[in-house]
C-alpha cells in the first residue's frame, strides 16, 4: 500500500483518545501525521511545566487546556485532520456517548483506577469495539520488556510492570514508545497487518 492509499483508507476513520497526557498527546500526533480522518480527544486538565518531559506540548502552552493545545499542535502538522476537542472528565456515564461512533478507542489515562474504569465501561457497553490500552512504561531502558498482548478486541501495550513512582518517573522515551505502539496497533487494526506479508 502506498502512503496515498494509506491516507485514503484512514481518512474515513475516527479514533477516540481518552486522556491527552504522555500517551494521548503522542499517540494523537502520530495518528494525525499518517492521516487519520477524525480524532476525538478528551481531557479535563491543563498543561503544566512538569508535563513537558514527555507530553506533546510546548513551554508557551503551559496553562492552556490540554485538548485545546493538542488540537492546535495537530492543526500545525495537518489542518485537514478533524479534531473534536472535549474538555470533560470521562465517567461511566459520559464514555458510552462520547465514544459511541469511534472505530477504535485508545486508553491514555495516567491513574490505574481511571484505566480500570474506562476499560470496564468500554468492555461492558462496546465489547466489539477495539480498545488499545497503555500499561507499564515508567522509567528508562528495558526496551525489550515492552510488548503487545491481545485478547480479542482488547490490546495491551507496555511492559505491564513498571508503575510510576517518585523514583521511577514517566519519561519521554519509554512513554513515547508505548504511545507510538498504541498508534501502530490502531493502524494495524484499520489497515491490516501488511508488514507481515
Amino acid at each position: 500500500m502506498t502512503f496515498d492509499q494509506i491516507k485514503k483508507r484512514l481518512s474515513t476513520t475516527t479514533v477516540g483518545i481518552a486522556g491527552c497526557g504522555g500517551l494521548g498527546s503522542n499517540c494523537a500526533v502520530a495518528l494525525a501525521r499518517v492521516g487519520i480522518g477524525k480524532l476525538i480527544i478528551v481531557d479535563f486538565d491543563r498543561v503544566t511545566v512538569s508535563n513537558l518531559n514527555r507530553q506533546y506540548f510546548f513551554l508557551d502552552q503551559v496553562g492552556q487546556t490540554k485538548t485545546i493545545a493538542l488540537k492546535e499542535n495537530i492543526r500545525r502538522i495537518d489542518p485537514t485532520i478533524a479534531v473534536e476537542a472535549l474538555e470533560v472528565k470521562l465517567t461511566p456515564e459520559t464514555i458510552p456517548t462520547i465514544f459511541a461512533f469511534c472505530d477504535i478507542v485508545v486508553e491514555a489515562f495516567d491513574l490505574a483506577d481511571q484505566k480500570e474504569m474506562l476499560i470496564e465501561t468500554i468492555l461492558t457497553h462496546f465489547p466489539e469495539k477495539p480498545l488499545v490500552v497503555g500499561l507499564g512504561m515508567a522509567g528508562w531502558g528495558k526496551s525489550d520488556l515492552i510488548h503487545l498482548r491481545k485478547s480479542d478486541n482488547l490490546y495491551i501495550c507496555g511492559d505491564e510492570v513498571s508503575e510510576i513512582s517518585e523514583e521511577l518517573p514517566p519519561l519521554a522515551p519509554r512513554v513515547g514508545m508505548v504511545a507510538n505502539m498504541q498508534a501502530n496497533v490502531v493502524l494495524e487494526i484499520l489497515l491490516g497487518s501488511e508488514i507481515a506479508k
Binding site: 489515562f109 480500570e116 476499560i119 512504561m137 498482548r149 480479542d152 508503575e163
Partner: protein, 67 residues
C-alpha cells in the same frame, strides 16, 4: 484441570473454579484488575459466580499507573 492463563498453560486442582477461587489459588492480591474468560469480560460482582473449567482461556490484567 488445565487452563490457559495470560497465554500460558496452567495446571490447577479440581475440575472447576470460580474467578475468586482462581485469584486465591494464584495468590493474586491486586485490587485493580480486568478479567476476561474465553474473551468475555467478567465484571467484579460476578467474580464469585463466574466459573472457570478445563480448557478455558483466562486473561488477567493488572492495572498500574502511568501515562
Amino acid at each position: 484441570m488445565r487452563i490457559t492463563l495470560n497465554n500460558r498453560t496452567e495446571e490447577l486442582e479440581g475440575t472447576a473454579l470460580t474467578v475468586s477461587g482462581l485469584l486465591e489459588a494464584k495468590k493474586y492480591t491486586f485490587k485493580m484488575l480486568i478479567i476476561k474468560v474465553n474473551g468475555k469480560f467478567i465484571p467484579k460482582p460476578d467474580y464469585n459466580s463466574a466459573v472457570i473449567t478445563e480448557g478455558d482461556d483466562v486473561q488477567v490484567l493488572h492495572l498500574i499507573s502511568g501515562g
